[in-house]
Symmetry: C2
Subunit: 142 residues, 2 copies
Amino acid sequence: MRLEKFRVFFLLLALSIISCDQESKRDKYDSGKGEMLVRIAAIEIEPNYLKEYIAILKEEAEASVRLEPGVICIYPMFQKENPTQIRLLEIYANKEAYASHLKTPHFKHYKETTLEMVKDLRLIDMEAIDKEIMPIIFTKLK
Amino acid sequence: MRLEKFRVFFLLLALSIISCDQESKRDKYDSGKGEMLVRIAAIEIEPNYLKEYIAILKEEAEASVRLEPGVICIYPMFQKENPTQIRLLEIYANKEAYASHLKTPHFKHYKETTLEMVKDLRLIDMEAIDKEIMPIIFTKLK
């Protein structure tokens, strides 16, 4: 019972600290810098290159999310029935974050090495219907 | 400086507690219950109903994510250039979580009230390329 109280205490304390941390992080990217950028990238890959492409994409997505505070989400998937059809959900804090992403070594490496593997690429600008839902979604993930 | 040390200490402590909490939550939904279900729903809406449809969808997505531990993500968007084209990124902990979602009052309400608003519906099964990327995405969001 006492342990439970400690857990709750530390959790509340921690959440407030984390919340502060993220407040300052978001300030850096959001304030006065306009809207979040949400996009679905629809990419078709040459079948022969699929395995190689996926390895490079995975590395690039991971590095972007890990290293760039303005890259909120790059979530890569492929269609189960047609694995050469790749889809990415991309969320950037704002236009500046996206512009800065294009200049990173990991993005440049991805772009250069996969240029010939990509058969088709469509970038579809999206608008999130519920901007408030994200915090809830991501508290559910490890 | 001392404050900084405290912040780090509490952060680490908190993260380990949160991690434990989520471990047990996942156990409940993942262990022995198979793979996560990832899907893009591509929905076209009758233009006259768009505003009404979006309001109902927003409510349904929010309730699903908030109330159902097995609904990891329902992220609704529309195409900026063609707002009647709705896309949802849906992630369920497993098949059981999805089956249970279909039985909820909020899903049933959504399905019944929007039936005539939906012009076209395609459910595209996806596979996440990097299952490890989620934890990083989560730490970046409030």
